[in-house]
Symmetry: C2
Subunit: 172 residues, 2 copies
DNA sequence: CCAATCCGATTGCATTTTGCAATCAGTTGC
DNA sequence: GCAACTGATTGCAAAATGCAATCGGATTGG
Protein backbone atom coordinates (compact mmCIF):
# COMPACT_ATOMS: atom_id res chain seq x y z
CA UNK A 1 0.00 0.00 0.00
CA UNK A 2 2.81 2.40 0.69
CA UNK A 3 5.47 3.56 -1.72
CA UNK A 4 7.75 1.34 -3.80
CA UNK A 5 10.97 3.35 -4.07
CA UNK A 6 12.09 1.85 -7.31
CA UNK A 7 14.47 4.80 -7.49
CA UNK A 8 15.08 8.18 -5.87
CA UNK A 9 14.22 10.09 -9.04
CA UNK A 10 11.62 12.77 -8.30
CA UNK A 11 9.56 11.94 -11.38
CA UNK A 12 9.56 8.28 -10.51
CA UNK A 13 8.62 8.94 -6.89
CA UNK A 14 5.83 11.26 -7.98
CA UNK A 15 4.52 8.56 -10.27
CA UNK A 16 4.56 6.07 -7.45
CA UNK A 17 2.35 8.42 -5.50
CA UNK A 18 -0.29 9.13 -8.13
CA UNK A 19 0.70 7.08 -11.16
CA UNK A 20 -2.57 5.20 -11.20
CA UNK A 21 -5.93 5.78 -12.72
CA UNK A 22 -7.75 7.08 -9.68
CA UNK A 23 -5.65 8.95 -7.13
CA UNK A 24 -5.41 12.17 -9.10
CA UNK A 25 -9.07 11.97 -10.08
CA UNK A 26 -10.03 11.93 -6.41
CA UNK A 27 -7.71 14.83 -5.65
CA UNK A 28 -9.09 16.71 -8.65
CA UNK A 29 -12.65 16.34 -7.35
CA UNK A 30 -11.57 17.55 -3.93
CA UNK A 31 -9.52 20.48 -5.24
CA UNK A 32 -11.74 21.71 -8.07
CA UNK A 33 -15.07 20.24 -7.07
CA UNK A 34 -14.81 21.02 -3.38
CA UNK A 35 -15.81 17.48 -2.46
CA UNK A 36 -15.11 16.48 1.13
CA UNK A 37 -17.24 13.39 1.81
CA UNK A 38 -17.06 9.78 0.70
CA UNK A 39 -20.51 9.83 -0.91
CA UNK A 40 -19.85 13.06 -2.75
CA UNK A 41 -16.72 11.58 -4.27
CA UNK A 42 -18.52 8.34 -5.03
CA UNK A 43 -21.76 9.61 -6.55
CA UNK A 44 -20.71 12.79 -8.32
CA UNK A 45 -17.62 11.27 -9.85
CA UNK A 46 -17.84 11.74 -13.60
CA UNK A 47 -15.73 8.69 -14.16
CA UNK A 48 -17.72 6.38 -11.88
CA UNK A 49 -15.23 5.17 -9.32
CA UNK A 50 -16.16 1.99 -7.43
CA UNK A 51 -16.64 2.27 -3.69
CA UNK A 52 -13.94 -0.24 -2.80
CA UNK A 53 -11.38 1.56 -4.95
CA UNK A 54 -12.38 4.90 -3.48
CA UNK A 55 -11.99 3.53 0.05
CA UNK A 56 -8.63 2.05 -0.84
CA UNK A 57 -7.30 5.23 -2.43
CA UNK A 58 -8.52 7.47 0.37
CA UNK A 59 -6.69 5.25 2.81
CA UNK A 60 -3.57 5.25 0.68
CA UNK A 61 -3.62 9.02 0.22
CA UNK A 62 -3.92 9.41 3.98
CA UNK A 63 -0.96 7.11 4.54
CA UNK A 64 1.04 9.15 2.06
CA UNK A 65 0.22 12.36 3.87
CA UNK A 66 -1.92 13.89 1.15
CA UNK A 67 -5.22 13.76 3.04
CA UNK A 68 -6.46 13.85 6.59
CA UNK A 69 -9.78 12.64 7.93
CA UNK A 70 -11.91 14.18 10.67
CA UNK A 71 -15.38 13.67 12.11
CA UNK A 72 -18.11 15.85 10.76
CA UNK A 73 -19.67 17.58 13.80
CA UNK A 74 -23.03 17.84 12.00
CA UNK A 75 -23.39 14.12 11.43
CA UNK A 76 -21.85 11.46 13.61
CA UNK A 77 -21.24 9.09 10.72
CA UNK A 78 -19.82 11.52 8.27
CA UNK A 79 -16.12 11.87 7.79
CA UNK A 80 -14.62 15.02 6.33
CA UNK A 81 -11.53 14.60 4.24
CA UNK A 82 -9.10 17.49 4.04
CA UNK A 83 -6.24 18.21 1.72
CA UNK A 84 -2.82 18.66 3.25
CA UNK A 85 -0.27 21.18 2.03
CA UNK A 86 1.32 18.33 0.09
CA UNK A 87 -1.88 17.87 -1.90
CA UNK A 88 -2.60 21.57 -2.26
CA UNK A 89 0.74 22.11 -3.97
CA UNK A 90 -0.42 19.78 -6.72
CA UNK A 91 -2.34 22.71 -8.22
CA UNK A 92 0.46 23.67 -10.66
CA UNK A 93 0.72 20.06 -11.80
CA UNK A 94 -3.03 19.90 -12.30
CA UNK A 95 -2.89 23.14 -14.26
CA UNK A 96 -0.13 21.84 -16.54
CA UNK A 97 -1.89 18.52 -17.00
CA UNK A 98 -5.08 20.32 -17.91
CA UNK A 99 -3.28 22.62 -20.32
CA UNK A 100 -1.57 19.72 -22.03
CA UNK A 101 -4.70 17.61 -22.23
CA UNK A 102 -6.65 20.51 -23.65
CA UNK A 103 -4.24 20.78 -26.56
CA UNK A 104 -3.72 17.12 -27.39
CA UNK A 105 -6.72 15.14 -26.24
CA UNK A 106 -10.40 15.03 -27.20
CA UNK A 107 -11.63 17.11 -24.27
CA UNK A 108 -15.17 18.42 -24.10
CA UNK A 109 -15.59 22.18 -24.08
CA UNK A 110 -17.47 22.46 -20.80
CA UNK A 111 -14.98 20.31 -18.96
CA UNK A 112 -11.95 22.10 -20.31
CA UNK A 113 -13.02 25.68 -19.74
CA UNK A 114 -11.66 25.47 -16.20
CA UNK A 115 -8.30 24.25 -17.45
CA UNK A 116 -8.25 27.12 -19.91
CA UNK A 117 -8.97 29.68 -17.21
CA UNK A 118 -6.34 28.19 -14.94
CA UNK A 119 -3.82 28.26 -17.75
CA UNK A 120 -4.58 31.87 -18.68
CA UNK A 121 -4.41 32.93 -15.04
CA UNK A 122 -0.95 31.44 -14.70
CA UNK A 123 1.05 31.11 -11.49
CA UNK A 124 -0.57 34.13 -9.78
CA UNK A 125 -4.01 32.55 -10.12
CA UNK A 126 -2.65 29.18 -8.97
CA UNK A 127 -1.25 30.86 -5.87
CA UNK A 128 -4.56 32.50 -5.12
CA UNK A 129 -6.32 29.17 -5.53
CA UNK A 130 -3.86 27.41 -3.25
CA UNK A 131 -4.36 30.16 -0.70
CA UNK A 132 -8.09 29.53 -0.79
CA UNK A 133 -7.56 25.81 -0.40
CA UNK A 134 -5.34 26.40 2.61
CA UNK A 135 -8.10 28.50 4.09
CA UNK A 136 -10.74 25.85 3.35
CA UNK A 137 -8.80 22.76 4.35
CA UNK A 138 -6.16 23.89 6.83
CA UNK A 139 -7.97 26.78 8.47
CA UNK A 140 -5.24 29.17 7.42
CA UNK A 141 -6.09 32.89 7.31
CA UNK A 142 -6.93 33.95 3.80
CA UNK A 143 -4.68 36.50 2.19
CA UNK A 144 -7.10 37.41 -0.57
CA UNK A 145 -9.10 40.57 0.02
CA UNK A 146 -12.77 40.07 0.89
CA UNK A 147 -15.49 40.62 -1.70
CA UNK A 148 -13.34 39.22 -4.47
CA UNK A 149 -14.78 36.14 -6.13
CA UNK A 150 -12.95 32.97 -5.19
CA UNK A 151 -11.10 31.10 -7.87
CA UNK A 152 -13.44 28.16 -7.48
CA UNK A 153 -16.40 30.50 -8.00
CA UNK A 154 -14.75 31.89 -11.13
CA UNK A 155 -14.12 28.39 -12.46
CA UNK A 156 -17.65 27.34 -11.66
CA UNK A 157 -19.15 30.42 -13.29
CA UNK A 158 -17.14 29.86 -16.44
CA UNK A 159 -18.29 26.25 -16.55
CA UNK A 160 -21.92 27.20 -16.14
CA UNK A 161 -21.64 29.84 -18.84
CA UNK A 162 -20.48 27.22 -21.30
CA UNK A 163 -23.22 24.80 -20.31
CA UNK A 164 -25.86 27.52 -20.63
CA UNK A 165 -24.54 28.68 -23.98
CA UNK A 166 -24.50 25.15 -25.30
CA UNK A 167 -28.06 24.51 -24.10
CA UNK A 168 -29.18 27.73 -25.79
CA UNK A 169 -27.54 26.96 -29.09
CA UNK A 170 -29.05 23.48 -28.97
CA UNK A 171 -32.58 24.83 -28.65
CA UNK A 172 -32.08 27.73 -31.06
CA UNK B 1 -4.86 -0.63 -25.79
CA UNK B 2 -6.15 2.75 -26.87
CA UNK B 3 -7.83 5.31 -24.72
CA UNK B 4 -10.80 4.74 -22.43
CA UNK B 5 -12.64 8.07 -22.51
CA UNK B 6 -14.22 7.73 -19.13
CA UNK B 7 -14.89 11.46 -19.44
CA UNK B 8 -13.86 14.44 -21.52
CA UNK B 9 -12.08 16.13 -18.62
CA UNK B 10 -8.55 17.11 -19.62
CA UNK B 11 -7.02 15.84 -16.40
CA UNK B 12 -8.82 12.53 -16.76
CA UNK B 13 -7.80 12.15 -20.37
CA UNK B 14 -4.20 12.99 -19.53
CA UNK B 15 -4.27 10.32 -16.84
CA UNK B 16 -5.61 7.81 -19.30
CA UNK B 17 -2.62 8.51 -21.49
CA UNK B 18 0.14 8.26 -18.89
CA UNK B 19 -1.61 7.38 -15.63
CA UNK B 20 0.34 4.18 -15.23
CA UNK B 21 3.64 3.26 -13.67
CA UNK B 22 5.74 3.12 -16.81
CA UNK B 23 4.70 5.39 -19.67
CA UNK B 24 6.11 8.56 -18.16
CA UNK B 25 9.26 6.75 -17.04
CA UNK B 26 9.94 5.75 -20.63
CA UNK B 27 9.29 9.27 -21.85
CA UNK B 28 11.52 10.66 -19.09
CA UNK B 29 14.40 8.44 -20.23
CA UNK B 30 13.90 9.54 -23.81
CA UNK B 31 13.57 13.22 -22.98
CA UNK B 32 16.21 13.61 -20.28
CA UNK B 33 18.39 10.60 -20.95
CA UNK B 34 18.39 10.90 -24.73
CA UNK B 35 17.50 7.21 -25.12
CA UNK B 36 16.27 6.20 -28.55
CA UNK B 37 16.60 2.38 -28.76
CA UNK B 38 14.74 -0.47 -27.14
CA UNK B 39 17.84 -1.87 -25.44
CA UNK B 40 18.90 1.48 -24.09
CA UNK B 41 15.54 1.93 -22.49
CA UNK B 42 15.56 -1.64 -21.22
CA UNK B 43 19.07 -1.89 -19.79
CA UNK B 44 19.76 1.61 -18.53
CA UNK B 45 16.39 2.00 -16.90
CA UNK B 46 16.97 2.81 -13.23
CA UNK B 47 13.66 1.26 -12.31
CA UNK B 48 14.20 -1.99 -14.19
CA UNK B 49 11.35 -2.21 -16.64
CA UNK B 50 10.55 -5.66 -18.05
CA UNK B 51 10.93 -6.15 -21.77
CA UNK B 52 7.32 -7.12 -22.41
CA UNK B 53 6.05 -4.07 -20.58
CA UNK B 54 8.48 -1.86 -22.47
CA UNK B 55 7.34 -3.33 -25.79
CA UNK B 56 3.72 -2.87 -24.82
CA UNK B 57 4.16 0.73 -23.72
CA UNK B 58 6.19 1.70 -26.78
CA UNK B 59 3.41 0.31 -28.93
CA UNK B 60 0.78 2.11 -26.94
CA UNK B 61 2.67 5.41 -27.00
CA UNK B 62 2.96 5.09 -30.77
CA UNK B 63 -0.76 4.45 -31.10
CA UNK B 64 -1.43 7.52 -29.00
CA UNK B 65 0.78 9.64 -31.19
CA UNK B 66 3.49 10.31 -28.65
CA UNK B 67 6.23 8.36 -30.40
CA UNK B 68 7.23 7.34 -33.89
CA UNK B 69 9.47 4.51 -34.93
CA UNK B 70 11.96 4.43 -37.79
CA UNK B 71 14.64 2.07 -39.06
CA UNK B 72 18.17 2.76 -37.99
CA UNK B 73 20.21 3.00 -41.22
CA UNK B 74 23.30 1.74 -39.41
CA UNK B 75 21.76 -1.52 -38.31
CA UNK B 76 18.98 -3.34 -40.09
CA UNK B 77 17.34 -4.55 -36.90
CA UNK B 78 17.58 -1.44 -34.87
CA UNK B 79 14.60 0.79 -34.49
CA UNK B 80 14.93 4.42 -33.54
CA UNK B 81 12.12 5.86 -31.49
CA UNK B 82 11.40 9.56 -31.77
CA UNK B 83 9.34 11.89 -29.67
CA UNK B 84 6.51 13.71 -31.37
CA UNK B 85 5.54 17.29 -30.59
CA UNK B 86 2.83 15.85 -28.34
CA UNK B 87 5.50 14.19 -26.20
CA UNK B 88 7.92 17.10 -26.33
CA UNK B 89 5.31 19.40 -24.82
CA UNK B 90 5.31 17.21 -21.73
CA UNK B 91 8.46 19.03 -20.60
CA UNK B 92 6.56 21.54 -18.43
CA UNK B 93 4.64 18.69 -16.80
CA UNK B 94 7.87 16.82 -16.14
CA UNK B 95 9.36 19.97 -14.65
CA UNK B 96 6.41 20.48 -12.32
CA UNK B 97 6.37 16.82 -11.34
CA UNK B 98 10.06 16.98 -10.55
CA UNK B 99 9.68 20.16 -8.56
CA UNK B 100 6.84 18.71 -6.53
CA UNK B 101 8.58 15.41 -5.92
CA UNK B 102 11.73 17.19 -4.85
CA UNK B 103 9.84 18.97 -2.09
CA UNK B 104 7.67 16.17 -0.81
CA UNK B 105 9.31 12.86 -1.53
CA UNK B 106 12.53 11.13 -0.46
CA UNK B 107 14.49 11.93 -3.59
CA UNK B 108 18.22 11.36 -3.83
CA UNK B 109 20.40 14.40 -4.36
CA UNK B 110 22.07 13.28 -7.58
CA UNK B 111 18.77 12.34 -9.19
CA UNK B 112 17.02 15.54 -8.20
CA UNK B 113 19.66 18.05 -9.22
CA UNK B 114 18.25 18.02 -12.74
CA UNK B 115 14.77 18.76 -11.46
CA UNK B 116 16.18 21.63 -9.42
CA UNK B 117 17.95 23.12 -12.42
CA UNK B 118 14.85 22.77 -14.56
CA UNK B 119 12.77 24.44 -11.88
CA UNK B 120 15.20 27.31 -11.44
CA UNK B 121 15.44 27.82 -15.19
CA UNK B 122 11.68 28.14 -15.45
CA UNK B 123 9.64 28.38 -18.66
CA UNK B 124 12.46 29.96 -20.71
CA UNK B 125 14.74 26.99 -20.03
CA UNK B 126 11.88 24.58 -20.75
CA UNK B 127 11.35 26.29 -24.08
CA UNK B 128 15.02 26.00 -24.95
CA UNK B 129 14.97 22.34 -24.02
CA UNK B 130 11.87 21.67 -26.12
CA UNK B 131 13.54 23.46 -29.01
CA UNK B 132 16.51 21.12 -28.69
CA UNK B 133 14.24 18.10 -28.58
CA UNK B 134 12.46 19.28 -31.73
CA UNK B 135 15.83 19.54 -33.37
CA UNK B 136 16.88 16.07 -32.20
CA UNK B 137 13.66 14.21 -32.82
CA UNK B 138 11.82 16.11 -35.50
CA UNK B 139 14.74 17.52 -37.49
CA UNK B 140 13.56 21.04 -36.88
CA UNK B 141 16.07 23.85 -37.27
CA UNK B 142 17.45 24.84 -33.89
CA UNK B 143 16.78 28.37 -32.74
CA UNK B 144 19.46 28.36 -30.08
CA UNK B 145 22.74 30.02 -31.05
CA UNK B 146 25.67 27.67 -31.73
CA UNK B 147 28.41 27.20 -29.14
CA UNK B 148 25.94 27.47 -26.29
CA UNK B 149 25.76 24.36 -24.14
CA UNK B 150 22.59 22.38 -24.65
CA UNK B 151 20.14 22.03 -21.81
CA UNK B 152 20.77 18.31 -21.69
CA UNK B 153 24.51 18.97 -21.40
CA UNK B 154 23.85 21.40 -18.57
CA UNK B 155 21.67 18.88 -16.80
CA UNK B 156 24.22 16.16 -17.29
CA UNK B 157 27.09 18.32 -16.07
CA UNK B 158 25.17 19.25 -12.94
CA UNK B 159 24.42 15.59 -12.28
CA UNK B 160 28.06 14.61 -12.69
CA UNK B 161 29.19 17.42 -10.40
CA UNK B 162 27.01 16.06 -7.64
CA UNK B 163 28.21 12.51 -8.19
CA UNK B 164 31.85 13.64 -8.17
CA UNK B 165 31.37 15.76 -5.07
CA UNK B 166 29.71 12.88 -3.26
CA UNK B 167 32.48 10.47 -4.23
CA UNK B 168 35.06 12.96 -2.97
CA UNK B 169 33.38 13.54 0.35
CA UNK B 170 33.06 9.79 0.79
CA UNK B 171 36.80 9.21 0.41
CA UNK B 172 37.82 12.27 2.43
C1' DC C 1 -41.76 4.17 17.34
C1' DC C 2 -40.61 2.31 13.18
C1' DA C 3 -39.49 1.90 8.49
C1' DA C 4 -36.84 3.93 4.92
C1' DT C 5 -32.84 6.08 3.81
C1' DC C 6 -28.16 7.52 4.16
C1' DC C 7 -23.36 6.95 6.12
C1' DG C 8 -18.54 5.09 5.21
C1' DA C 9 -17.06 1.38 4.11
C1' DT C 10 -16.21 -4.26 3.39
C1' DT C 11 -16.71 -8.71 1.08
C1' DG C 12 -16.77 -12.02 -2.67
C1' DC C 13 -15.84 -12.90 -7.20
C1' DA C 14 -14.80 -12.62 -12.16
C1' DT C 15 -11.91 -10.12 -15.32
C1' DT C 16 -7.95 -7.56 -16.58
C1' DT C 17 -3.40 -5.93 -15.97
C1' DT C 18 1.12 -6.50 -14.38
C1' DG C 19 5.74 -8.40 -13.55
C1' DC C 20 9.12 -11.82 -14.27
C1' DA C 21 11.78 -15.36 -16.69
C1' DA C 22 12.59 -17.71 -20.60
C1' DT C 23 12.78 -17.65 -25.31
C1' DC C 24 12.59 -16.18 -30.28
C1' DA C 25 14.39 -15.25 -35.04
C1' DG C 26 17.12 -12.08 -37.63
C1' DT C 27 21.73 -9.21 -37.78
C1' DT C 28 26.25 -8.19 -36.85
C1' DG C 29 31.23 -8.69 -35.89
C1' DC C 30 34.89 -11.71 -35.69
C1' DG D 1 30.43 -20.68 -38.05
C1' DC D 2 29.35 -18.74 -33.89
C1' DA D 3 28.77 -15.75 -30.05
C1' DA D 4 26.77 -11.46 -28.97
C1' DC D 5 23.20 -8.29 -29.80
C1' DT D 6 18.83 -6.56 -32.05
C1' DG D 7 13.63 -5.72 -30.99
C1' DA D 8 10.57 -8.18 -29.41
C1' DT D 9 7.01 -12.52 -27.88
C1' DT D 10 5.25 -16.24 -24.86
C1' DG D 11 3.72 -18.56 -20.63
C1' DC D 12 2.47 -18.12 -16.19
C1' DA D 13 1.67 -16.44 -11.44
C1' DA D 14 0.38 -12.53 -8.81
C1' DA D 15 -1.82 -8.26 -8.19
C1' DA D 16 -5.14 -4.72 -9.36
C1' DT D 17 -9.60 -3.57 -11.00
C1' DG D 18 -14.67 -3.40 -11.56
C1' DC D 19 -18.99 -4.72 -10.10
C1' DA D 20 -22.75 -6.13 -7.09
C1' DA D 21 -24.18 -7.24 -2.76
C1' DT D 22 -23.94 -6.38 1.94
C1' DC D 23 -22.75 -4.44 6.67
C1' DG D 24 -23.87 -2.06 11.13
C1' DG D 25 -24.71 2.35 12.81
C1' DA D 26 -27.15 7.09 12.28
C1' DT D 27 -30.57 9.89 10.74
C1' DT D 28 -34.96 11.29 8.86
C1' DG D 29 -40.01 11.29 7.93
C1' DG D 30 -44.36 10.12 9.23
Amino acid sequence: MSIDRRSGCPINLSLEVFGDRWSLIILRDMIFGGKRHFRELLNFSLEGIASNILADRLKRLMELGMLTKADDPSHKQKAIYSLTEMAITLVPIMAQLGAWGRVWLPVTEELSIRAELLEKGGPPLWEQFMDELRHEHLGAPSKTPPNTPTVRQQLRAAYEDVVARKAESATA
